[in-house]
Structure formats: structure tokens, C-alpha cells
């Protein structure tokens, strides 16, 4: 049996963590794109589109991410292509992130819209103008802290892609554990690496939130 030094273990984990970062970035940005689209459907005036976005969100928030990954993996397989794990992982995480971001952002738009709606329509603006010049700029500001906060969920969510065989930090943890028989240390290290990725984002989300609250109180 080969002996693994602590450095060997950490190095392998860190190398795999790169894929956690890449997948997180892709999922978050893809999710933001799809989420923006869904948001406009959700808050727009077309009822059918609004309902579609609403049920989309409920579906993705009401089912396990793991199931979504399985369905993407085997569902894309049904279409005929032999799906690589990264593709299924990316697709599922993007669709999942989109649902959560849509819901977060809708909350922000509605929080602003309450007071500002009447003010801006009394100025003779149309719906699109109101959105473009009054509601969205303000909503974007209050949306930043929870959006940053959600990025933490995305990073943690990528851990599940190890189950469909995508090799990232969690998968590497399992592989290294099987080679070293030191689950306590290896999973401890894996947890620490996730913590190092997530905690700064959690903290900045909190700090941004606090700043925003202070700014609001001074109005």
C-alpha cells in the first residue's frame, strides 16, 4: 500500500476543488441568466408566462436537487446523447439556481414596487419605463446581499454532482478516503476547504445587508 502524506491529500483535494469553483461559477452565472429571463416572465404582464415562471420555481424548490441531477443525467440520456456528468451537472444546477434567484429577485422587486408604483405612475410613466427607471435600479440594490448569500448555496449544491460522477471536491474526498482509510481527516479537510470557499461569501452577504439597512435607516 502506498503511503499518503498530508500534503498529498491536501494537494489532491485542492486540485479537485478547482472543479467545484468552475462548476459553481458556471451554475451561478447560467442561473442568473435564466433567472433574469424567468424574473421578467414572473413580474411581467403576460399571465401565462407569469404562471409558467411561478410553477417553474415551485417545482424546482419543491423537489430535491439530487433528483433534478438524476433526471438531467438520465433524461438527457433518453434524448439519445451519452451525457457526460459535467453536462448533466451544469444543466441541473443552472436550472435549479435560476429558480431560487428568480424567487429572491421577485421578493426584491415587490419590496420596492409597493411604495414606488403609485409615485411613478402618477408621473405618467408606462409599465416598461417604470420598471426600467424606477423599480429595477432600486431592486437591484437590495438584491445584492441575498444574491451573494445564495452563491453559498450554489457552492454547497455542487457537492451533489459527485453522486452522478462529476469529479469535484466531494468526489475527490471519497476517492482519497478510499485510498487512505482516513475518513475523519479527509472529510474534515474537505469541509474546511468548502468553509474557506463559502464563509467569505456568507460574511460579505451579511456585511452588505447590514450596510444596506443602515443606509435605509438614514433616509
Amino acid at each position: 500500500m502506498i503511503e499518503f502524506s498530508l500534503w498529498d491529500i491536501v494537494r489532491n483535494l485542492l486540485l479537485a476543488a478547482r472543479w467545484t469553483v468552475v462548476l459553481s461559477l458556471v451554475s451561478f452565472m447560467g442561473g442568473a441568466l435564466v433567472g433574469t429571463l424567468l424574473l421578467f416572465m414572473r413580474i411581467g404582464r403576460r399571465r401565462v408566462l407569469g404562471l409558467f415562471a411561478k410553477y417553474y420555481v415551485e417545482l424546482f424548490q419543491g423537489t430535491p436537487l439530487l433528483m433534478q441531477l438524476f433526471l438531467a443525467f438520465f433524461g438527457l440520456g433518453l434524448v439519445g446523447i451519452d451525457v457526460p456528468a459535467w453536462l448533466a451537472a451544469g444543466v441541473a444546477l443552472i436550472l435549479w439556481s435560476a429558480a431560487f434567484l428568480t424567487e429572491i429577485w421577485r421578493g426584491c422587486v415587490e419590496a420596492i414596487a409597493k411604495g414606488q408604483w403609485e409615485a411613478s405612475s402618477s408621473l405618467g410613466m408606462g409599465y416598461v419605463q417604470q420598471m426600467r427607471y424606477v423599480i429595477l435600479p432600486q431592486a437591484m440594490k437590495i438584491a445584492i446581499p441575498p444574491t451573494v448569500g445564495f452563491s453559498v448555496q450554489v457552492i454547497k449544491g455542487t457537492a451533489l454532482t459527485s453522486i452522478i460522477g462529476f469529479v469535484e471536491l466531494s468526489k475527490a474526498g471519497t476517492v482519497v478516503t478510499n485510498a487512505t482509510f482516513q475518513p475523519f481527516m479527509v472529510y474534515g479537510l474537505v469541509a474546511l476547504i468548502y468553509f474557506a470557499l463559502c464563509w467569505p461569501l456568507s460574511k460579505s452577504s451579511q456585511v452588505l445587508e447590514r450596510k444596506l439597512n443602515v443606509a435605509h435607516r438614514n433616509h
Binding site: T63, L65, M67, F74, G77, L160, F184, G188, A191
Partner: protein, 220 residues
């Protein structure tokens, strides 16, 4: 293209999985919320020397994936001599996870309590803990109950990964069925639908529990 004939033979497997999932979330929610209340008390009112430990616990759990917490508990802890069954490990992981999230949710509820409530308790000669227990806790929980319900549902859905340590929940059942029937998509499709129904039912149950625990509509 789709084939659901296997349902006729395998529905008892699904049913058993459903029951395990329900069992997990029932125990997990009750114990997790209790842990959350205890931690929220420490972080907002409890002994100062205990606070850093609770803060560390909460931050650690909230910033690492549930899957890794589960693996650490099931594969890692036995090396310290803590042996557990799959079910126990799954449940423990869920409790620890929900404990950390609900701590923060409940703490927000406590912090929204008007100061006069603490003072009224004190002026009636109640100790700080008695005031917390009898005066502060219930209205605080009522304030944040919807958020707590959502968190319990998130934990229920997240519990699908306990199949990875071979705890025999709904997802485990789906895995089992797909390995026997090779109808992977259909098996996951059906279990996804079941999860959706479970989530909707769970929300109803929690809301009903809320109106039972908090008979008054407004908490102030």
C-alpha cells in the same frame, strides 16, 4: 418510450422509502428545532463563555455541504469510536444541520422582541431564563414560523442524499428500483413527484402545527 409497468411490482419498495423519509424528517424537525432553540438562547441571552462555541458550530454547518457533514458523521466519527447505524447517522446529520439553520432563524425572532417584554418578566421576579422560556420564546417562534417551515422543507428535500450512506429512504428506493428495472428516468421521475407531494403536504402540516401552537394570529 416510457414504461411504468414496474410500479405494480415495486410500489411497496417506494412506500417503505417514503415512510423512512417521513420518519427522518419527523425526528429531524423536532430535535433540530429544539437544538435550534437551545442555540438561539445561548447566542442571544445565554452564558457569554458558551457563545463562541455555538457561533463556530453554526458557521461551520452553514458553510459546508450537508453531504460532507453526513459523510463526516457516518464515515469519520466511527474512527473516534462512535458507531452508528445508517439511519442514526442520517438522522443525526439532519438534526445537526437543521439545528444550525434554525438557530439563526429563531435568533432573529428573539431579537425582534420588544425590550419591554424582558423588563416585564424581570419586574415580575422571573429570572432571565424563566422570562425566555415563558414570555419570549412563543411569540419569537411565531414571528419566524414561516421561515422555519421553509427550512424544515429544505432539510426534508436535502435528506435525499442520505441514500449515499445506504440509509433506506425514498431516494434509496428509487436507486434500488432503477438498478433492478433499468428504468432509471421513470424511477426518478416518480420519486421526484412523490417528493413534491411530500413537500406540499409537509408545508400544510407545519402550517397546521403553527396554528395549533400559536392560537393567536398576531404576535406583535
Amino acid at each position: 418510450m416510457f414504461d411504468y409497468a414496474w410500479l405494480a411490482q415495486y410500489w411497496p419498495v417506494l412506500l417503505k422509502g417514503i415512510l423512512v423519509t417521513i420518519q427522518l424528517i419527523t425526528v429531524g424537525a423536532a430535535a433540530g428545532i429544539a437544538l435550534g432553540i437551545a442555540c438561539a438562547w445561548v447566542r442571544s441571552l445565554g452564558p457569554k463563555w458558551l457563545r463562541p462555541a455555538v457561533t463556530a458550530y453554526v458557521e461551520l454547518i452553514r458553510n459546508t455541504p450537508f453531504l460532507i457533514q453526513l459523510f463526516f458523521i457516518f464515515f469519520g466519527l466511527p474512527s473516534l469510536g462512535l458507531q452508528m447505524s445508517e439511519f442514526q447517522a442520517a438522522n443525526l446529520a439532519m438534526i445537526i444541520n437543521l439545528g444550525a439553520y434554525s438557530c439563526e432563524i429563531i435568533r432573529a425572532g428573539i431579537q425582534a422582541t420588544p425590550r419591554g417584554q424582558f423588563e416585564a418578566g424581570a419586574s415580575l421576579a422571573m429570572t432571565p431564563f424563566e422570562t425566555f422560556r415563558h414570555v419570549i420564546l412563543v411569540p419569537s417562534l411565531q414571528r419566524i414560523w414561516p421561515a422555519l417551515c421553509s427550512q424544515v422543507i429544505i432539510v426534508m428535500l436535502g435528506s435525499s442524499v442520505v441514500s449515499q450512506i445506504a440509509a433506506e429512504d425514498l431516494t434509496f428506493a428509487a436507486n434500488f428500483i432503477q438498478s433492478r428495472t433499468f428504468r432509471a428516468f421513470e424511477a426518478y421521475f416518480v420519486s421526484t413527484a412523490i417528493y413534491l407531494v411530500l413537500a406540499i403536504l409537509l408545508r400544510q402540516v407545519l402550517i397546521a402545527a403553527g396554528s395549533f401552537i400559536f392560537p393567536r394570529r398576531s404576535g406583535r
